[in-house]
Symmetry: C2
Subunit: 466 residues, 2 copies
């Protein structure tokens, strides 16, 4: 159904939250939801609802939402499935503006009663145009509002960022978040849409396209009930913000598992792939490529062509990346005469000075590296730069110098790198270059090269006519 922006805004930015099924028992999800809300620093009111408790985590607890002396914007429901319809009616009567339904046991179960309950709930909330995240979800997080409406308090450890993640799988949201924590990648919102009572991918894309905190939209999906609605919505906003999608359940086995998981058939990969292209959605095919590409889209300009320069302080990583560039539709272009002359002035004739450039002889010399980088940055044939450097004792000064010199270099072309160093020793230098938005770094040359391929694929999607 269509969701008003104001309803979605209330859902993600509530002033007060009631947890229906709050608990002080760590074996219950209602306990962990309470932890998430209280430990996550949410500045609004948090009200536990449980007829059997007086107080949970130091907060006064009420027997039901009906008797509350406060207005409630968001209700998080963690009760057994059969109790949910009555609770939903109470919530609507109370004027609740949005809900997160963590409970499982609806459409995804074999018993047809589950599907009936699902329909019943949809009818209740759709009548009132109240958006519901779930059922069968861990919840959702709005890092900009410090709202952790999930049963995983650790989501609050994530940095605030501009990537909005919408996922059909809670496991994938957890995995992607743990990966993002390791790499300091931030999110605006993380939404486990679960079995999608009335908030599906289309509604989330519509909302995130208008959300000022979100610049990149990342979708993890297994099956979609209304693919045309998503495609239509994505087309409407085409070019406004990048959308990437990782779709699993492509093989027969995965597809069967997907049906059981979220109650919908996953469907053939090729059908999605064509539809995604038409809608300007960039399809990716594993969690690493998905997160890497989201990170790059959030931090880097797009290339304005397929021409790349491959600069490598040690030749091996450059050769590995060149293979990937070539099969991925990128072009290791010839430099202009001026660029080539500047590189020839810096590097001795024993190095490969054409593209890819083997900076081996200058591997310890940051002025030489930055000189080559600046020449290539200014080259009209070059749309993006891949830079590979491994740092250790003998050449660590080159990265220290790089930090200093690169800050002077304005750049509007993607600089995608694999700068690697022994952990705990010089990682900080690389981190600083990323924080200064000078470059976007990845752990391997292949992942860096695939990111450049994907940035160029996205550019191609945007310029093609449908």
């Amino acid at each position: 159904m269509d969701m008003k922006m104001s309803s979605m805004n209330n859902l993600f930015n509530p002033r007060s939250v009631a947890v229906i099924g709050a608990s002080e028992n760590p074996a219950k999800l209602g306990f962990h939801v309470m932890l998430s809300l209280t430990k996550g620093g949410f500045p609004g009111m948090v009200i536990p609802i449980n007829p059997g408790s007086k107080e949970i985590l130091g907060l006064k607890t009420f027997p039901s939402i009906t008797e509350l002396p406060y207005e409630i914007d968001l209700a998080i429901v963690v009760l057994p499935a059969r109790m949910v319809p009555a609770i939903f009616e109470e919530c609507l009567a109370k004027g609740v503006k949005g809900m997160v339904l963590i409970t499982a046991g609806f459409k995804e179960i074999e018993d047809p009663e589950g599907a009936d309950l699902h329909e019943q709930l949809a009818n209740i909330v759709n009548r009132a145009h109240v958006p519901v995240i779930g059922p069968n979800t861990f919840g959702m997080i709005n890092l900009h509002a410090k709202l952790n409406a999930s049963f995983t308090p650790e989501f609050s450890l994530l940095e605030k960022g501009i990537i909005g993640l919408v996922s059909q799988s809670g496991g994938m949201c957890h995995l992607l978040s743990f990966m993002a924590m390791r790499d300091d990648i931030g999110f605006s919102k993380i939404v486990g849409i679960g079995n999608r009572l009335n908030v599906d991918f289309a509604q989330m894309v519509d909302y995130l396209m208008q959300d000022p905190d979100t610049d990149v939209i990342a979708l993890y999906m297994e099956g979609i009930d209304r693919p045309r609605q998503l495609i239509h919505t994505a087309k409407t906003y085409r070019g406004k913000k990048p959308i990437i999608a990782y779709k699993t359940g492509i093989g027969d086995i995965g597809n069967r598992a997907s049906r059981s998981h979220t109650g919908s058939l996953a469907g053939r990969g090729e059908i999605y792939s064509g539809a995604f292209s038409q809608a300007g959605i960039l399809a990716l095919n594993d969690v690493e490529a998905f997160l890497d590409t989201a990170k790059a889209l959030a931090a880097s300009p797009l290339p304005d062509g397929a021409g790349v320069a491959v600069l490598s302080s040690q030749a091996g990583p450059g050769i590995a990346a060149a293979d990937i560039c070539q099969t991925g539709g990128l072009d290791a272009v010839s430099f202009t005469q001026e660029t080539q002359q500047r590189i020839n002035d810096i590097l001795p004739p024993l190095a490969l000075r054409t593209n890819p450039v083997d900076m081996g002889p200058a591997w310890y010399d940051s002025e030489a590296v930055v000189g080559i980088l600046q020449a290539v940055m200014g080259d009209e044939n070059v749309a993006g730069i891949l830079l590979f450097m491994m740092f250790a004792s003998a050449n660590v000064d080159s990265i220290k110098g790089l930090s200093f010199l690169l800050k002077e270099t304005g750049q509007n072309k993607p600089l995608i790198t694999c700068l690697s160093a022994p952990p705990g020793i010089w990682d900080e230098h690389v981190k600083q270059l990323e924080e200064a938005a000078v470059l976007v770094n990845f752990p391997t040359p292949e992942r860096a090269a695939r990111v450049m391929v994907n940035l160029n694929r996205y550019r191609n999607l945007m310029i093609s006519q449908w």
Copy 2:
């Protein structure tokens, strides 16, 4: 050329090492080589050679190797290319048993003088059957002997292990080592064979096959001068120890860069791929898959069939992995009736209890997880198990219990996992399970699934007839 085992043993296990071109100037590689030898804990004698110094890093320095009052097993040479022939003659006269030639500027340079010098050096050492690592290398490391004969002291931070890495690219050795440090993956030896004066891949495979410290041989290559020699050597030892190879320089661009890097054409990927299969060498195509597969071969039994069980505490990762299993030639087999009954007893009917198994309803219950795992481990249809679990506040007890319960479970089938948790919080539990050799863990479900595919590919290589 053929190398006697005793010569290679002396090279990698010297009692005394001379550094010809040692320096106290941190801008010189000869300084960093001295750091590597002294800081790495090498128990033998280290003798710096430099006519301009009396002492380097507190060690008495000699003007030349000729005048030394000691026997020298290994000479590391870090002098300009044109000085090397005379130094080689001095080393042979002194009775040196092996050499590491770090110096670049031989066959890989455009000037034909480089190739001439290379030939000249080869003639000198081959006459005396003295093995040389290099030229154009960072050096080599024998972690079991605490010998760091390289210009990168940080290699000594690596754990001792059973993977022998042989690489044409110093950059790749550095990168792989830094990745391995992050994941506590150990090596027996790391050898940068560079431009291969007389120790090429074939000689290294021959040596490592007989090296008691090495159980897995990992080769990174760009081009090979004598591919038939490698194939022949690998065939001779077929089945004794797994060999994996990552070959780059497959596209035209990479190939061109490879020629410049190490003086040899990389050649078409397909040709290598066929030859590798015949020789029982498992080909891989990026540094992650290369290191992941080496880690698994070092830590896990091989599957004895293509049948896998996919167990997932949250369905999403299982679905992603099932797609990869299916395209990679693995089979999510049907369980025996007995196994299926045990699983049905543990999981409620609302879960997908056939393969892949969605353990969602038991995600917080380690006894249920271990019960399913044990049932599947004992199933005759199952040759390998993929297990995916994401841990956080609500289900952390399940991994704590898993550690305890799994130790009771003997297992002779590969258990390849993606167990992930917020960094710095519960990583230690996963680490303990890996250290107890119960499972082999990877950061994403796709990487875990690809590892199982590659273990099965290796099994297929071993059973096929050529």
